[in-house]
């Protein structure tokens, strides 16, 4: 199908489909994703403060929904990985990361918004940078400089393997972890949204511009795939927010751990 479309003048979606300057142009343009990010911050702030102001013993529907999300970040991730005793200083980070990423991802399939802001790499880099600084700071503060760097080595490594294993562990802590943490979220949102664009734009082109009754009939299949993939995206978007927070908790716990 893409071949047929390409020969007929269809431009398939690519990285350029994610550049939507609304005000101005160039490096200082105000883009669509900025509006999404600001809107999600305002929504999270309002909803959380409103819910926290009128907490009830018997929760209303809204309070129950907010509490469920909080429960995922706190009990399912935080308590499991970091442990209840040491969780308190990291709880705000985990919960706000989870809510922020979840809402920004969901913006990819909310009608009329339909732009996952995490498909722009810059936002993900900032989030990863926060996590990166936090887990190194926590580890250095807990164990001191020497202890922290000694702690990279897994216990039980034979002495002759140390020169091989230690550089690999250093690479893991300083390069691989932030790289994969940021790329995972970015690439999932980018690929998922591109997939949706392929089916939506392809279906639209087949229906309106192909001028062939048989090709127009196949647009139904394209739109059906678009709807199916939208539900699949919902799952992926939730899962990616969950995984980002889960790995954050894991890295923090690992930096504080006495032994590997």
């Amino acid at each position: 199908m893409p071949y047929v479309l390409a020969s007929a003048g269809f431009t398939p979606p690519g990285p350029s489909s994610f550049w939507h300057p609304l005000i101005g142009d160039g490096a200082f343009a105000v883009t669509r994703s900025m509006f999404v990010v600001v809107a999600t911050v305002i929504i999270i702030g309002l909803v959380m403060t409103m819910t926290a102001k009128r907490l009830q013993l018997v929760p209303t529907k809204g309070q129950f929904a907010v509490e469920s999300l909080y429960n995922i970040a706190r009990n399912q991730i935080g308590v499991d990985f970091i442990g209840e005793a040491r969780l308190r200083p990291f709880l705000p980070l985990l919960v706000s990361l989870f809510l922020f990423i979840l809402l920004n991802n969901l913006a990819g399939i909310i009608p009329f918004v339909q732009f996952p802001s995490m498909s722009r790499f810059g936002y993900v880099v900032v989030l990863t940078l926060i996590v990166y600084v936090v887990y190194h700071y926590v580890g250095l503060k807990k164990k001191g400089f020497g202890g922290y760097f000694r702690g990279f080595l897994p216990p039980g490594v034979p002495i002759w393997l140390v020169p091989v294993v230690y550089p690999l562990e250093l690479l893991t802590y300083f390069v691989t972890r932030p790289l994969t943490l940021s790329l995972r979220l970015f690439a999932n949102m980018f690929a998922g949204h591109t997939l949706l664009l392929v089916f939506a734009l392809g279906g639209e082109y087949l229906l309106l511009h192909s001028g062939n009754i048989f090709l127009q009939a196949t647009s139904v299949a394209s739109f059906a795939m678009f709807i199916a993939m939208t539900f699949f995206e919902l799952l992926i978007q939730f899962l990616q927010a969950y995984i980002f927070v889960l790995l954050t908790a894991y890295y923090i716990a690992d930096a504080m751990a006495e032994e590997h």
Binding site: P13, R184, L247
Partner: protein, 67 residues
Amino acid sequence: MDGSLNVIGYGLAAIGPAIGVGLIFAAYINGVARQPEARGLLQPIAILGFALAEALAILGFVLAFIL
């Protein structure tokens, strides 16, 4: 999307992580089937393993665009 050879390469590169993710969830399902009460314990571990295996596919995806 230009550079169709890159995309073919990415498709080949994704086979490995795909098998890995399949094995991880197969083990998770096996574990839960044998001991349903261990579900809460196994779930974060399974998702952690999934995330680590998926990282390889993600690196390939990014390289397919960059190279």
